[in-house]
Symmetry: C2
Subunit: 150 residues, 2 copies
DNA sequence: CTGTTATTGCAAATCATTTGCAATAAGCTT
DNA sequence: AAGCTTATTGCAAATGATTTGCAATAACAG
């Protein structure tokens, strides 16, 4: 399978764009990202490889990749304070955020597929995307909460 | 049961605040809202009752109500371009947005409850809130799309 | 009715994101 | 490898949404 960098290069060239050094840096950061990177994270990390890369370029690159369908913005909390970017198609993974410690716990469930099918049948909708964000208390913070209540 | 206005008055007084004329207008708009009202909708509608109510006051009132746990911000699309406000606890209704005509179709499903239970059991998470936003094509726009493809 | 102080409207400030422009560099053509 | 075209860059300024400082106003406790 092609690397994410190759995928991105192809997609960008396809639409008459160019793969630049700055874009490579950002694409590679997105590929190797284990966690969630927001715009400022990406800018900060990219600067370590290219002192002079500008925030505007990070924004523009993210928009190019999003238009190409390679990445998607996601939001952490249900109030969606914080937007970060991740590769699409990296498996349908959804996220649970702990209200207290802000930890993000990924999960996936066939129930979401099922929900899509239900809606297709019942309401005749063609569901192209599902955004499911849960929040609440992680196991650790539940324990801590129980202590405080005493 | 107390009206939403009474609920709001009590909650605001509880924290040493005051129920003003402007706040009453906004609270009533939120109570009677059938659809989704965003900040500008609320400002526009509120002006019909009070010519001089300012946008800043609408923002401040929404923040007060949100802090009191009476309303919650919601987002229409998975990209969450548009934020609107609705009362909490007004039944768990989720929304599907058509990518083409932007129409919003509300739905609800037991599958989401089921998902919460699954996660409680499997990952020991206490799920306090679920944000589920779907998007895709509504029946009408599916037909239109089919025509264009020919 | 009076006094205290939370709230208001306004304008200016802030924050995230986008954009205009001149300089640079990607990558096709030779 | 060199030249040419034009997409991309960095910067600074613009934009759009939301917040805030301040003096004037109005809630509501006494």
């Amino acid at each position: 399978m092609p690397s994410f960098l190759e995928q991105a290069s192809d997609a960008i060239r396809q639409s008459g764009g160019r793969m630049t050094g700055q874009r490579q840096i950002i694409v590679n950061l997105l590929e190797s990202a284990t966690g969630q990177l927001d715009v400022d994270d990406l800018h900060r990390l990219a600067r370590k490889q290219d002192q002079h890369i500008s925030l505007a370029t990070v924004y523009r690159t993210l928009n190019v990749l999003e238009d190409a369908g390679l990445i998607q913005p996601r939001y952490q909390s249900p109030e969606h304070e914080h937007k970060y970017y991740e590769r699409v198609g990296s498996g349908q993974v959804y996220h649970f955020t702990c209200r207290v410690c802000r930890k993000i716990i990924p999960f996936h469930s066939e129930l979401i597929q099922e929900l899509k099918h239900h809606l297709s049948k019942q309401l005749d909708l063609e569901v192209l995307n599902a955004c499911v964000c849960l929040d609440g208390l992680c196991p650790e913070c539940q324990k801590q909460q129980a202590q405080t209540d005493r």
